[in-house]
């Protein structure tokens, strides 16, 4: 393959804090050279892309993607998820273990990685289950799954309620320096809940989860982290109270990472007002004060990772009364324009928006990608940060169309995406 030079771009590299003009030369799937400022020469043998007016950043890394494969292919296959990711500028996806059967052994991890690699689209990686069958009782083969490439371990949306089990999982995982991720949701306070407790939920007659359920569970999880020395990711933090707990833990030196979903950064509980099931999410959409606290936490660097929390649900699972509808939203394809609203509307610096989408997850999971530097894999996204777009859920590449952004006007459009220097998406 001919070398490729992307010139006249605005380079955005959160890892080095560089935001300025530049060019990138790519050969054999890797970045060969990054030039800051105006490129002085154009390599004659290279294919040239003149990216005037566009931003070039490391490809996005989405560590929380649910697909339906294996077991529920009508929702989403690895291929439809990968196509959707590529169109969203997401060059690495980490598939969640909540398939049927659960991804809880090395053969399943290997299967998904092979299927993903055969697609020849984006990088498909895997998170293994922390407990067998995600039952929250018996520990899964964390060591063997780690050996074949699982990036971290989680029971996904299921909370490991049994504190003794979680303590054992954490202690054991520490032997492999494996990362454990848990949803902070106190199970008894969360049981049956479909909205955040409060005036709106009680007016709508929806069972609510109090915000304190998140804080209580996080306090427990962090106490176990302290006890066991495990590497830990707070998965989908969503409340101001839990952010305060996290900040206090960080202040006393606990190395704990945290992720937030793009939905919780963009929407609040008022969005469920018309019982629109596209906004039925887990955790539920929170109060505006919680959303604002999340945005501030992003600005302050308390949030390490933004995820799309991509959770496909076909129409038959969403076209139900709110409380009976499936929870979750697709988000791979809308992740970047949605995140850019935090820049356009909330004034968050562009590098601070991109960091938790690129370098943040890469550093957390030990991936080479997520940086613009020589010898890094040429996983890149080229986008117009200002282009107005109207999201049309029906036009999304995902097999399921449950996007809460449907019909929303956003600003920011992916023009091209590259994985290992190969174009995996080029806008028509």
């Amino acid at each position: 393959m001919k070398p490729l030079a992307i010139i006249n771009a605005r380079l955005l590299d959160p890892a080095s804090d560089y935001d300025g003009p530049g060019a990138v030369l790519i050969a054999d799937g890797r970045i060969v050279e990054v030039v800051h400022g105006q490129a002085t020469h154009r390599p004659e043998e290279a294919e040239i892309i003149d990216a005037q007016g566009l931003c070039l950043a490391p490809g996005l890394i989405d560590i929380r993607v649910t697909t339906g494969e294996p077991g529920a292919e009508p929702k989403e296959t690895l291929k439809s998820a990968a196509l959707s990711a590529a169109a969203g500028g997401v060059t690495t996806i980490v598939v969640q273990p909540d398939a049927e059967p659960a991804v809880d052994d090395p053969a399943m991890v290997d299967f998904i990685q092979r299927r993903g690699a055969a697609l020849n689209l984006v990088n498909v990686r895997v998170a293994g289950a922390a407990t067998q069958g995600r039952d929250g009782k018996r520990m899964a083969e964390i060591g063997l799954m780690d050996e074949v490439g699982a990036l971290y371990f989680t029971d996904g949306d299921r909370v490991i309620a049994n504190t003794r089990t979680l303590m054992r999982v954490m202690s054991y995982a520490a032997a492999f320096n494996a990362l454990i991720a848990c949803r902070p949701a106190e199970p008894w306070l969360s049981e049956g809940a479909v909205a955040t407790s409060g005036e709106l939920a009680s007016r709508l007659g929806l069972a609510g989860q109090p915000a304190i359920a998140e804080r209580i569970q996080l306090e427990r999880d962090l106490a176990l982290v302290e006890q066991t020395g495990a590497r830990f990711l707070v998965d989908q933090i969503s409340t101001e109270g839990a952010l305060e707990v996290l900040a206090r833990a960080r202040a006393r030196g606990l190395e704990v990472a945290a992720s937030a979903s793009i939905n919780h950064l963009c929407f609040n509980e008022v969005d469920i007002g018309d019982y629109r099931t596209f906004y039925r999410l887990d955790p539920p959409l929170r109060a505006e004060s919680d959303r604002r606290a999340l945005v501030e936490a992003l600005r302050d660097g308390l949030i390490d990772v933004i995820t799309s929390a991509h959770t496909p649900a076909p129409a038959e699972d969403k076209r139900r009364p709110f409380a009976e509808a499936a929870a979750g939203a697709v988000g791979l394809e809308t992740l970047l324009p949605a995140a850019l609203t935090l820049h356009h509307q909330e004034g968050v610096d562009l590098l601070d928006v991109l960091r938790p989408l690129t370098h943040g997850p890469a550093a957390l999971l030990g991936l080479e990608a997520g940086v613009l530097e020589a010898d890094a894999p040429a996983d890149l996204v080229l986008f117009d940060p200002n282009a107005p777009v109207v999201i049309d859920a029906d036009a999304l590449r995902s097999k399921s169309k449950n996007s809460p952004f449907d019909g929303r006007r956003l600003q920011g459009r992916v023009e091209r995406a590259f994985v290992g220097g190969r174009p995996v998406f080029v806008r028509d």
Binding site: G192, S197, G205, L206, A207, D274, P321, F322, A323, E324
Partner: protein, 325 residues
């Protein structure tokens, strides 16, 4: 409004309903609620006189779509529709198609294709009636959705109160018991307040939503304080089936502190009336001695007014459809 004024209303020419559907007490405003109550009052008088059926809804079809069993409400709507001359089909969907995996919307679309004029819907999920209303071409009446609303119940309660007291604006109404799980409470709070009554909520903290103080009601956990000076004591059914986990230690303890008996009723204003949307858990939230005493209990009257209030709603919705056509 005097009884003489009421009888001047032409029961065959109701004012059109203000909206395409009746999903929530908030679909009404004081003027339209008063119109409906006047009409319902007329129907109540006609019902008592045996001067029905009418032929206001002749040739129209009302479908009772009950995903949750409720003999009383279903029968009340059925009688109301029949007294207006409508054809009524009652679909006990709780036991049929839904069990075969058909979604609520599939059921709605199928029924819609049969071109009914009104769908009366009861469903265990909050918002179900609103969801259906978006998918069908006919009028939808919410006959109870989860713990959200039961607006015709609020209307019939108001009608009962108006007939018992004349003026409702000066009343203080204590809604007692399981407010958290009650759609009746939500609709009644909205409608009673809209019509100028003062509303109190009384019950154990576990059965009153934490933010109920923001509903514009006074909240009491002590029956003696909550009932003091009240004109109406509206008891709610303890929804034991909707309680996940222990919200009260036992029905025995509940009755001791929050169940209505003669002793507690004596704490209310002299001449206070008792209401209950039914079906009652006797000896749990209400003592039979109180429930069956017609000098204080309006419970039978509520059932009777249910038919009249639902006739008013159906007739008014029908008038709207006619006006649209």
């Amino acid at each position: 409004m005097t009884q003489a004024d009421v009888t001047e209303i032409d029961p065959n020419r109701p004012a059109p309903f203000p909206r395409a559907h009746f999903l929530s007490a908030a679909d009404l405003n004081p003027a339209t609620a008063t119109d409906l109550l006047d009409l319902a009052d007329t129907y109540a008088t006609l019902n008592r006189a045996g001067a029905v059926p009418l032929d206001l809804m002749r040739g129209r079809t009302v479908v009772n779509l009950f995903f949750e069993n409720s003999t009383r409400t279903s029968a009340s709507f059925e009688i109301a529709a029949k007294r207006l001359g409508a054809e009524v089909v009652t679909m006990p969907v709780a036991a049929s198609s839904v069990k075969k995996g058909e979604t609520l919307i599939d059921t709605a679309v199928t029924l819609n294709a049969m071109r009914p004029d009104v769908l009366v819907v009861r469903h265990a999920a909050s918002g179900a009636a609103a969801l259906l209303s978006q998918k069908v071409g006919c009028a939808v009446v919410n006959a109870g959705d989860g713990r959200h609303e039961h607006p015709t119940q609020a209307l019939l309660d108001l009608l009962t109160l108006r007939r018992a007291f004349g003026d409702v604006t000066s009343l203080t109404v204590a809604i007692c018991g399981d407010v958290a799980h009650s759609r009746v409470a939500r609709s009644n709070v909205a409608l009673l307040q809209m019509m100028g009554a003062r509303v109190r909520l009384v019950g154990p903290p576990t059965l009153i939503p934490g933010d109920a103080d923001r509903w514009g009601c006074e909240v009491f956990h002590d029956m003696r304080e909550g009932l003091a000076g009240c004109d109406v004591v509206m008891m709610l059914r303890l929804q034991l089936e909707r309680m996940e986990g222990a919200l009260i230690p036992s029905t025995r303890e509940y009755f001791r502190f929050w169940g209505l008996d003669r002793e507690k009723l004596a704490w209310a204003a002299p001449g206070a009336k008792v209401m209950h949307p039914g079906p009652m858990n006797r000896g749990v939230e209400i003592d039979s001695d109180v429930a069956d005493d017609l000098s204080v209990s309006l419970i039978q009257e509520q059932v009777e007014m249910g038919v009249a209030a639902r006739m008013a709603v159906l007739a008014s919705l029908s008038a709207r459809t006619e006006a649209d056509q």
